[in-house]
């Protein structure tokens, strides 16, 4: 690829411009990753969710493996906001990529307070993790109730000038309801979405396979579900949608972008192939070149109908 024809990979997420559309999903990277890959090559670095209080998280074992997915129950162990400001941010200071914080709390008010507390020039945006399925009894979360979603986002937007992104949960019926509510409440972008609540049983021991019984299903197996939700949300709102769920390579990222995503987040794949994200950036560049696209943002929503309208009058994609 000659540099004069290199595609422009930058994407706009609300008031931010990212140098490419690839970033980690919250909770799936930590400082350790800087010892394996050049995190500065990423579009952004999304940090693990923090809570106002210190939390230990759920009982181990915390992971069960499937053929094409994992079930993790971690429960947001958190060292609190001061640790974020004093230790986590400096750990990424050398990386040439915007840092995105992620927050969760037990009340909408505390979401707002926490957003205000961590508003800091080193943080480019704050994700509202209203979707972690482990926080409340039986896996319920703020993000399963439209009014709670609205309140959390409104409080955060009122409390900080840092852009607020809303991370939706897939554990809902019609996700577009939540997408619209978050947009109205002032979110600059949506992440679609978090893990799907699941459960694993060991037939021989007659016991659960996770200390917490339930956990979040992530990895390639969930991609078809999240891809559908991204497609639905991208049609429902005007703010950018960031696709997340089962992305393991550049091709997966492009599928999400075709379905309407402006950028993507990579989660579980980081655990298995730590070079997934940087390789995806390269793959997207090659894809643009191969398809004669001068910019990656042209991929967003470029899905074409499978059937010509004449033979398939009901197809309106």
């Amino acid at each position: 690829m000659v540099s004069s024809t290199a595609p422009d990979l930058s994407v706009r997420i609300g008031s931010l411009t990212l140098k490419n559309p690839v970033m980690p999903a919250s909770g799936t990277i930590a400082e350790g990753m800087t010892q394996v890959i050049d995190m500065g090559r990423l579009g952004a670095i999304v940090l693990k969710t923090i809570t106002p209080d210190l939390r230990q998280g759920t009982l181990p074992p915390r992971v069960a493996e499937y053929r094409d997915a994992t079930l993790f129950s971690i429960g947001i162990p958190s060292k609190g906001p001061d640790y974020l400001l004093e230790h986590t941010l400096p750990a990424y200071a050398a990386c040439d990529a915007p840092l995105i914080a992620s927050v969760s709390a037990d009340t909408a008010e505390d979401f707002g307070k926490l957003a205000a507390y961590i508003s800091d020039p080193r943080i480019a945006a704050i994700e509202a993790n209203i979707s972690c399925p482990n926080l409340k009894a039986d896996g319920r979360a703020f993000g399963m109730d439209p009014e709670a979603t609205r309140e959390v986002i409104e409080r955060m937007v009122a409390a900080t000038r840092t852009p607020v992104w809303a991370k939706l949960t897939p554990n809902v019926g019609d996700i577009t309801v939540f997408a619209r509510v978050a947009e109205e409440a002032g979110a600059e972008a949506l992440i679609v979405g978090n893990a799907i609540l699941g459960m694993a049983v060991n037939a021989e021991t007659m016991r659960p396979r996770l200390g917490n019984v339930m956990g979040g299903l992530t990895g390639p197996a969930v991609k078809p579900i999240l891809l559908r939700m991204v497609h639905q949300c991208a049609k429902a709102v005007r703010i950018p949608v960031i696709g997340c769920g089962g992305i393991t390579c550049g091709e997966d990222a492009v599928e999400y972008m075709l379905a309407g995503a402006t950028a993507v987040q990579v989660g579980t794949a980081n655990f298995i192939h730590p070079h997934t994200m940087t390789e995806a950036v390269d793959w997207i560049a090659e894809y643009c070149t191969r398809h004669g696209l001068s910019a990656a943002r042209e991929i967003t929503g470029a899905l074409r109908p499978l059937h010509a309208p004449a033979t398939a009058p009901t197809e309106t994609v």
Binding site: G32, Q35, I37, D38, P60, R62, R67, P77, F271
Partner: protein
Amino acid sequence: MPDTALSPAPEARAGFPIEEALCEIVSNDAVNAEYRLMIARAPEAALRARAGQFFHLLCPATEAGQPFLRRPMSIYRIDRARGEIGFLYKVTGKGTRGLATLRPGETLNALGPLGRGFTLPQGTRHVMILGRGVGLATMAPLARLAAESGAAVTAVLSARSPELVMSRAELAAAGARVIEVVDTDGSSAPEEMEPHLTALHDERAFDYIATCGSNRLFRLARGLARSWGITGEIALEQHMGCGLGMCYACVIPVALPGGGEEYRRVCWDGPVFTLEEAMGW
């Protein structure tokens, strides 16, 4: 936190010290009915592994498919001269069955070195290694580390029966005195071992105990260390997601000095913990 003179803390490593290395298999042979020894040619970064550290291995597919997650395996042997690393592993499930299919010339994808290894206190003169089962794999390189730093090593190997005693030759080759205790004659029972080990201590005082592989050994080691007023460490295991300190799946509770407990990541804060913070194997 103990003095880290012999084992750099993760945050002290510079550049990209953790590599996804593609290692050519040199050999991968059964050492008995359950265990196999795999030797692989490794790049420079992998050869920097220290005793107690581990690699996260991508296991080849079997009929049951590709194991989705990597599998943690302790460094059993590092031969810097030949550019080789070795793993001693027990074939238990899908992942290790996949590892067992690797033939010489094929490629092993190994992420590492990972974790915090053993840390011999400066000036250590006599090391006790107390291990059982596959846990001994983790401690073989410790014997070399101790020898390199001029300490004597007594390795007490516990097993179900004599033919299962692992790593005897490896430890002896590293210069360790090897003592075996087995379940079949009752010599591995803690109440038998305690006077035995105390006699060894009286003969030549230990100033550090390393253990791994059993709760009984852990409690024995902690009790002896306390009564002898020395320090010690234990290598722990937990089901892992990433091996890189990122997912928080591999936590175990540790006792805090001021009282109370806290979860720590086996892959990043460990796998080696002090006998005082560890709460069980």
